[in-house]
Amino acid sequence: MRLEDAVGACVLGALIVYAVTGGADYGAGVWELLALRDKRQSEVIERAIAPIWEADHVWLIAAVVMLFMGLPGAFTAISTWLHIPLLLMLLGVVLRGSAFVFRQYGSRSAAAQRLWGVVFSAASVVTPFMLGMIAAAVAAGRVPGADEARATSDFIAPWLSPFPLCVGGLTLSLFAFLAAVYLCKETEDAALLETFRRRAIAGGFASGAMAGVAFFTARAEAPALAARLGGAWWSGPFHAATAAAAVGALGCLFARRYREARLLAAAQVALVILGWGFAQYPFAVPPHLTLLQAAAPPLVLKWLLAIFAGGLVLVVPAFGYLMIVFKSRS
């Protein structure tokens, strides 16, 4: 595997981990919007998120750092042209973080909790949507290359169009689905469990529908991407695997097998993101900027990979220890 491909894989990997951990945080916020009157739900959600919250969101920063260190050409193009959705996403992250801090550590007055619940939920909807839009804008080749950039000063067209909007919706429904599936294992209360289970099933179907809509808009708006997604040698087996994960997750939910449902739901999300990566390859920013062109010099890439590997060796056991400490019910 070439160095720049490995770096691209690391960035994608970080985004996958972010999606299956932090993504569920956002999804939980979406359900809170529908549960503002139900304190028991909020409590379960808060208790599940609290200890690992910061550790989850570090993966986003990891992706950003690896991008500017290892694929600076891509980082610069994305930061310049997708400034607005990135800024909105960022504001969502800050508001969500503030709401989280306040609800976790602050006043318990009912009015304050409700207000922050709304802020938390609203921000939880915005950020995943923006994430999806940014990914779609890149994948669809809507980010101008260096030559086109000199001719244009349109900072809105790259991201404000049907395909990115659909993928934004898809991301939101996937995260909401993920959150509901995870929450099934976080409570012993039968009524709450039933609520989460129904929502997970609804989220699963919604995600499937959104994926279909997104694919059709891709065919109209980003034919090159749609061709890669639909017609490459790996497309068939890949889509089969993703569908199997999705159907399997729903099946486990129907059968009330929650641990398996979790694994399959996470696998489904991971496969969707992986599919995005494969569809774009070998471009970092389609249609012109390849991974090789966007990459930093080889020595820098080697250092990046070394630090990533070393970091994993340090962090994974430590994270495992944290999970054991926290999840052991005393």
């Binding site: 200890p51 570090v58 500017f68 260190m69 992250v93 800050v94 006043s107 250092w303 430590a318």
Partner: protein, 432 residues
Amino acid sequence: MSDLLAARAQMAFSLGFHIVFAVAGIAVPALMVLAEGRWLRHRHPVDLELAKRWSKGAAVLFAVGAISGTVLSFELGLLWPRFMAFAGPIIGMPFSLEGVAFFMEAICLGVYLYGWDRVSPRAHWLSGVGVLTSGTLSGAFVVTANAWMNTPAGFALAGGKPVDIRPLAALWNPAAPTEIVHMTLASFLSIGFLAAAIHAYRLLKRPSEFHRRAYTLSLSVGAAAALLQPFSGDFSARQVARNQPVKLAALEGQWETRRGAPLRLGGLPDDQGEITRYALEIPRGLSLLARHDANAEIAGLKSFPREDRPPVIVVHIAFQVMVACGTLLFAVSALAVLLAWRRRAALVEPWFLKLVALSGPLGVVALEAGWTVTEVGRQPWIIAHVVRVRDAVTPMPGLRYSLAAVVAVYALLSAVVFATLRSQVLGSRHAP
């Protein structure tokens, strides 16, 4: 407001906000580890209570620091994409290392906060030490990236682009050692004294074993750092004299190139007249301090082209503020040591408590002033003598809206933090 000015203002604002929480994330774990250490040795319940309350404070501050840190990592790209195109591969390493350290800190803090009853006392205390160590390391790594902007190293220039990039040389650049030491001490100094001031204030209202313990512990940490800081400042100043002579000239308000240049206390630089007025001048003081040689030549601002000079008034005044606050805290610390040796009880007498309560917050003032000196003192460069700030900014227009949005959201966040810390750390009206 021009887009460039809006971008600079937004970055300065975000950094000024973040630095307070970043240093709190380094120093408050020190306080909680020391308190828990005392608890494990002497079993006074107050020390356990102290460790627990400080850890809750640490959790809030850490969470906010994580949020503001995320904002900064995005702003690097949103506001300065042309800087990141140049520098990203070169200073990516300290940022990556900082990320790993931060991740470890988050995990250790998770164990510390939620593991009180779930791990052995020894393991619990060690997780606290883990928070302190990783926090300090992550701060050190980030500071090396800033040091690189001041003394760029580890690459060569070919047609305005960097080639032959050597990440290790970039990380261990000339300013790195002095910036790391100075910033680490500044963390303990500012937060130690701020905590001491808060607890001193509470003690003035009502005697309390809890606040007395908190006060002595935080004052010890703050004073130890304050006593060492002038020496670190000396090292830093000499490094700046060697590698960033225009910055030295600006912070001192030195316009003429001179041998045996004077040290100026106070004074107001005049940009047009190229002179600094109203200063108390100590003959040969600057040559002595900056080069440890009373007859050394110091380059004056006039020897640099106007477009390469930083805003002298801001840099000079910020420097005077920083040194004044640092000197005052040094004096308070020296007095505290004297009292601890000769008459311990005086440390909690109202006159000394008032002194600490009033001077304590100045550590944070010194912190912000110091960052102003080093950042504004590097202008007009974003990478000293290599890339200018105005060439690094994003082409996207309307940055004043971005500035307004960030300021508004941070105002909200500040209100949340203040209210939360108040209830969390200081406890209810019924607290001891």
